[in-house]
Amino acid sequence: MNTHRDELIHRWREGNLSEEELHRLNEALTTPEDRAAMRGEWFLEASLPEALRTSRLLKVAELPQMRKGKG
């Protein structure tokens, strides 16, 4: 885990990055591993709403089966 990089990624996400910090973020994204970390963050940001909706559907789908199990 690279806390310096992760902090800059977090600050980009929150919209609080100065140009100097953006420069430092660029320097922190020079390896494929670092870029994968950034990609992972953006994946999470974009995919969480759908995953939250899916998790609610899964819960609803589980209920009838739980009731059946009890009966």
Binding site: M38, R39, L48, P49, T54, S55
Partner: protein, 180 residues
């Protein structure tokens, strides 16, 4: 079916398949889901027009990212209050880095689908309170202050919890993918 409409259908199928990944690229740059959706729609309109003209795209995903990047830049230029300097060399380097980051998974489009499925499972295992917090922040688009008030916690506590939950989810996704 004409060759032209076959080409459009192929392009549409690939666009739909790659939509989540392209969406993450655009949303990550813009940090605004509504504007990101508009950009995605515009990319599709331009892609369809290009295919209709008979252009053969070697790498459709890369082409779409390039168009999206230009649209994002134009959006920034139009925003009077943009926090980023739209025409700075630093920002161009950042755009290069992020285009590269997504190009690095172009040869594995299924990875994104597997990732989404893994995330669905990971979110389902979270404690109810963590899910509530995520729902407020990422579905209802509440500010951190609003999340803190709704959860009866301090701003700092919510910031730390969300950071910790996001890390846990990313690690959970990686663990699940490593087992495939």
């Amino acid at each position: 079916m004409s060759l032209e409409s076959e080409a459009i259908q192929r392009a549409a199928a690939e666009f739909i398949h790659d939509r989540h990944r392209l969406g993450a690229f655009v949303n990550g740059l813009l940090r605004d889901a509504h504007v990101a959706e508009d950009v995605l729609q515009e990319v599709w309109v331009r892609l369809a027009a290009e295919v209709e003209k008979g252009t053969r795209l070697e790498n459709q995903a890369a082409w779409c990212r390039g168009v999206a990047r230009n649209l994002v830049r134009r959006h920034w230029e139009q925003q009077q209050s943009a926090k980023v300097v739209a025409n700075s060399a630093t920002l161009e380097t950042f755009l290069d880095r992020m285009e590269l980051a997504f190009a690095e998974v172009d040869d594995d489009p299924e990875d994104w689908v597997a990732r989404q499925q893994a995330l669905d499972e990971c979110v389902a295992t979270l404690p109810e309170r963590s899910r509530q917090m995520l729902t407020l922040r990422y579905e209802s688009r509440a500010s951190m202050d609003e999340v803190a008030r709704a959860m009866g916690q301090t701003f700092e506590s919510v910031t730390k919890t969300l950071y910790r939950v996001r890390r846990a989810l990313l690690e959970c996704v990686e663990r699940k993918l490593s087992r495939i």
